[in-house]
């Protein structure tokens, strides 16, 4: 929590004003029962109507003051709470923007989303509540206790019994309830998981007629959730009668002991009445504080998760005076080895090769991510363990990262488009691109033919995830987006798998001819996608098996030959 406090600075004045005003409100509220006792014990006793009215008016003024302070306190509390939450959210988001691929892998998308949304919101709510409750309840209690003691110190000693008993009961019940609530959370997650599964896989469920099977699975989890929830609730609700019994016993005890004093004349009946009012106020404050503690517990989990983000640093570091210009598009790998953080197995071993500027290199090989990993080292999405990657004659680590990534266009395997117009998506490659440049890129990527078919052309909307486009169309759009960078090097990671062979061939020709000065690296599964490359790199189990031209590889590389033949089955006329 301490780590997050500095973020409160901007809203500090509200964070301070809120509780102060709250205290003032409480003070005004506490005065009222006391004033009332004056009415009874002085006003009524002396039949002094003027006095009664005076005190009554003071009470009303006190109430209005209380209201003003209370409303202002709420406002400031809200400002502080939401302000704090928004500062934390912004800081966390900025941190995430600095995350490397390795950082993103560690956290998973779902947990990052929850942290930025639920956890930040919880933090805001709890802050707001703390500023009010955490101050109101204890102050209410202290003031009321002081007033009660002021009225009759010996009578107030009854609290020495009731308060500890209440605190003990609260502690016992809450400690027992906490693990149940945590368990409940897991059960909720499991129920949600099966709902999500069925939503996405409904076709599988229907085609295998597994509806009743799934219903049974669901019933199990739903029932188990209810069981745990009922247990937790039963426990928590038990607090109410405990509180009630303590309050009423205290009231009765006070009536008994206080009554004797009233009869003896050492205490006014008005004082007794207001004392009873204070009893409820004091004991209710305890309840509020315990509820507040429960909220705090829940929030502490959120705080931990947010701090985790703030504490994460990207491992990709820049040097002192990074180079911004790329002299040419040549790429070399020198003795490169790599393994993913947290893994002992080497994904890449002894990688050594060189590509000339403007060359088209195909990469093909066995399953597994070693091909993708290899090319991700070029724009420093990951850093090598050993050896070095050299681009344009310099080690990639010498470049300014942003410049490096501007010059190296990367089309990822998971091609993501964002909600917005086609134009907006294309502008990710170049903020200042004019429509002609965009259309040119779309033409090169063989995407213009379907984009131009839309009535709204470049303004046509891409829905979340790009679901309103087919797989092949999405891939071509992402290629166009990458081309808008006007890069020196383009890396396509299996970017034409959903595109039909004829269109694929056209794209290949574009890279070979129109974009001949751009170094192109294509990872593909189909030989047909890379057979026209200048050379092909054949990978096998994280190492380079061969490197050469298609015709030569057919002779020299068993792996290549095997792949080729399995894909060519039946072409022979």
């Amino acid at each position: 929590m301490k780590k997050l406090l500095p973020l409160m600075k901007k809203y500090m004045k509200y964070a301070v004003l809120c509780p102060i005003l709250m205290v003032l409100e409480v003070a005004a509220d506490i005065a009222i029962p006391y004033l009332m006792s004056r009415i009874v014990d002085v006003g009524i006793a002396n039949q002094d109507i003027k006095y009664v009215i005076q005190i009554g008016l003071i009470m009303i003024i006190a109430a209005f003051l209380g209201m003003t302070f209370g409303v202002m306190s709420s406002h400031y509390g809200a400002k502080a709470g939401f302000g704090f939450a928004s500062e934390v959210r912004m800081k966390a988001y900025k941190k995430i923007q600095g995350f490397s691929f390795a950082n993103l892998d560690k956290f998973t998308v779902a947990s990052l989303i929850t942290r930025l949304t639920n956890d930040c919101n919880t933090l805001g709510q709890v802050t707001m509540m703390s500023l009010r409750m955490a101050v109101r309840a204890p102050f209410m209690m202290i003031f009321a206790l002081l007033m009660a003691m002021n009225i009759n110190a010996s009578l107030a000693s009854v609290f020495m019994v009731s308060i500890p008993v209440l605190v003990l009961a609260i502690i016992i019940i809450l400690t027992k309830a906490r693990p149940l609530f945590l368990k409940m959370q897991t059960r909720v997650d499991r129920v949600n998981a099966i709902i999500r599964e069925n939503l996405t896989a409904i076709r599988v469920v229907k085609s295998f007629n597994r509806q009743s099977h799934e219903e049974k699975r669901f019933k199990e989890r739903n029932d188990s959730l209810m069981d745990t929830a009922l247990k937790a609730i039963t426990l928590i609700i038990f607090l109410m009668p405990v509180l009630n019994i303590i309050i009423y016993s205290t009231i009765i005890a006070v009536l008994w002991f206080g009554g004797r004093q009233v009869v003896a004349g050492s205490m006014g009946s008005g004082e007794l009445i207001s004392f009873i009012t204070y009893i409820t106020q004091i004991l209710m404050s305890f309840m509020m504080m315990s509820m507040f503690f429960m909220q705090l517990l829940r929030a502490s989990a959120s705080v931990t998760r947010i701090v985790e983000i703030l504490d994460t640093e990207s491992e990709i570091k820049e040097v002192e005076n990074p180079v911004k210009e790329l002299t040419d598009g040549s790429v070399s790998f020198k003795d490169v080895c790599f393994c993913y953080p947290g893994s002992t197995e080497k994904t890449l071993k002894n990688i050594n090769f060189h590509i000339n500027s403007g060359e088209v290199l195909g990469i093909i090989g066995s399953t597994g991510s070693s091909k993708s990993t290899l090319v991700q080292l070029i724009p420093r999405l990951y850093d090598t363990m050993e050896g070095s990657v050299v681009v344009g004659g310099r080690d990639v680590k010498d470049y300014d990262i942003k410049s490096l990534r501007d010059h190296v266009a990367f089309v990822l395997q998971n091609n993501t488009l964002f909600s917005g117009s086609i134009r907006e998506n294309m502008k990710w490659g170049n903020e200042n691109a004019e429509d002609e440049e965009i259309i040119k890129a779309l033409k090169l990527a063989q995407a213009w033919e379907f984009v131009s078919a839309y009535k709204d052309g470049l303004d046509h909307r891409i829905e979340q995830g790009g679901d309103n486009f087919s797989g092949g169309q999405k891939q071509r759009l992402t290629i166009a987006r990458a081309l808008l960078k006007s890069p020196r090097i383009v890396i396509l990671d299996d970017s034409t798998s959903a595109v039909d062979m004829a269109t694929d061939a056209k794209i290949q020709r574009v890279f070979k001819n129109e974009l001949s000065d751009v170094t192109t690296i294509i990872i593909a599964q189909r030989v047909s996608s890379i057979q026209h490359a200048d050379r092909v790199l054949v990978m096998n189990e994280g190492e380079i098996e061969s490197l050469g031209r298609h015709e030569d590889l057919l002779v020299s590389s068993p792996v290549y030959r095997e792949i080729y033949e399995s894909q060519q089955k039946g072409v022979r006329p």
Binding site: M67, G70, K79, K94, A201, K206, I252, D504
Partner: protein, 606 residues
Amino acid sequence: MKQKQLRPRDPKKTLLRLFSYFKYNLALFFGGIFFIIIGSLAEIGINGMLSPVIDTLVGDHDRGLFIKYLLIMAAMAAVVSSAQYISNLSMAKLAQKTVHKIREDMFSHMEKLPVSYFDKHSHGELMSTFTNDVDMLNQSLEQSVSQILITSVTVVGTFIMMLVLSPVLTAVVAVMLAVMLYSVRFVGKRSAENFRMQQAALADMNGYIEEMMSGQKVVKVFNYEDRAIDTFSKKNEELRNAGTLASTYGVMMMPLMGNLSFVMYALISMAGAYLVMIDLLSIGNIASFLQYTRSISRPITMVSNQLNTLFAALAGAERIFDVLDEKFETDGGDVTLLKDCEGRKNPCWMVPKTDGGNDEVPLKGFIAFKDVDFGYTTEKKVLNKINLYAKPGQKIAFVGSTGAGKTTVTNLINRFYEINEGVILYDGIDIKRINKFDLRSTMSMVLQDVHLFEGTVKENIRYGRLDATDDEVVEAARLANADYFIQHLPEDYDTVLTSDGQNLSQGERQLLSIARAAIADPIILILDEATSSVDTRTEKLIAEGMDKLMAGRTTFVIAHRLSTVRDANAIMVLENGEIIERGDHDDLMAQKGRYYELNAGTIELT
């Protein structure tokens, strides 16, 4: 994405429908109400007792009476405590059980909805209804329902007691209550409006975060970070403003109501003092009256606090009921499948005859499309006059550019969607007549997107046929060439898969999905681009497995790859929803038409 309705369309109707769910737990409901009434009455009673108790102190000091009154108070305190406990518990249990039933109903209803429903509604939307809306309902039912009941009983009962005690003071209370209720309305309206704006800002922010986090790697690759931070900062500000405003109004209710009730307190004290001075009231009466005012104002304050969440919960409940009101997938099929026909363990179709009795048509796997038209929506036709047939055991391949209608054709064979015109015949029977359950039990699909379920590898394969033995599971895995990689998993067949099988590679997941289809031993097999995202080595394994799987079964396969399509008995080339070329590979290559063009890439080799 559709804008979420934040205000309930018809709160009364929704509330009544919610209440109808209580019928499953009537004992808890009535028990809860009964004890609420008892508890509230007893609480009123205790407050009433204050009057005589204090009067005995001030007046005649009758010790015996004093003790008697105290004992009565103690007894009532016991009643209040236990009654409140029972009623709170009953209502909380009622809430949990009601939500449990609603969840159950939603899930089983969802299982019966047509595929088109899932196309029209985004997953995010449905998940939100299932989780967020149900949660909000849960909370509201727990807190608000009993609160409202308690408030109603308490207010009515207390009011009556006050009238009995002093009509004059009651009039003062009534006036103040009117003021308080007016304030509730005033602040409440603004609070509700701002609350809705906050919800909208929150939804917008959440949507943005979800999209950006999912595509964060793309952000890095395009150096989009600064621009992302810019956009985020704007949305963050919006949320902050909306939230601050909404919370201010929302939280304001408490001090407002609390202090208005203190004003009421003050007025009562003054008026009451006057009445005592002219001997119309006793001091004890004032004590009681003051407690009564607290009893009335406290619950009113609590309820006014919850109004916003209550309305939001009702809006959520409406979305839940909308799902429950959706129509099921229609069936209308009277033809069923009989496992053993003529005592020979060969399945056949039981076709009811008009004059009673059934025709028995053996299950062979002959599919024919006659002049089939289809569109997902009425405006756009996706398939046009499709005519084709597949004899039992034949392999029919569909090729064509993306969006040409290949996947659509296969969605019609198993009646995921119903055709508009024409007829699809299965062993000579119109498939519209065949019961969907039985129809689908004769088919297996291996889809482009593989979906696996949480559970062991064994259970996932067994999904194809629940009563398969362990040996049969292994056999199916061997056929699909999946056995090898399964043996290399940490607990081979008992390895637990995480949701959607994410702890396996793409290729492994596809092999599993093939094993699952294999174990079902279907007459008709539908393969939808099953092998395109797998590397060539694994593809070879799959291809072999497929060949073994396809023997003796009618197969419809959609693919991009030449090798998959090469051995087909017939190839249908689809373009814009029509079959433009048909024949086997050699015929079509000779025609030098679209098929030839599609394979241009490979042709350049030879």
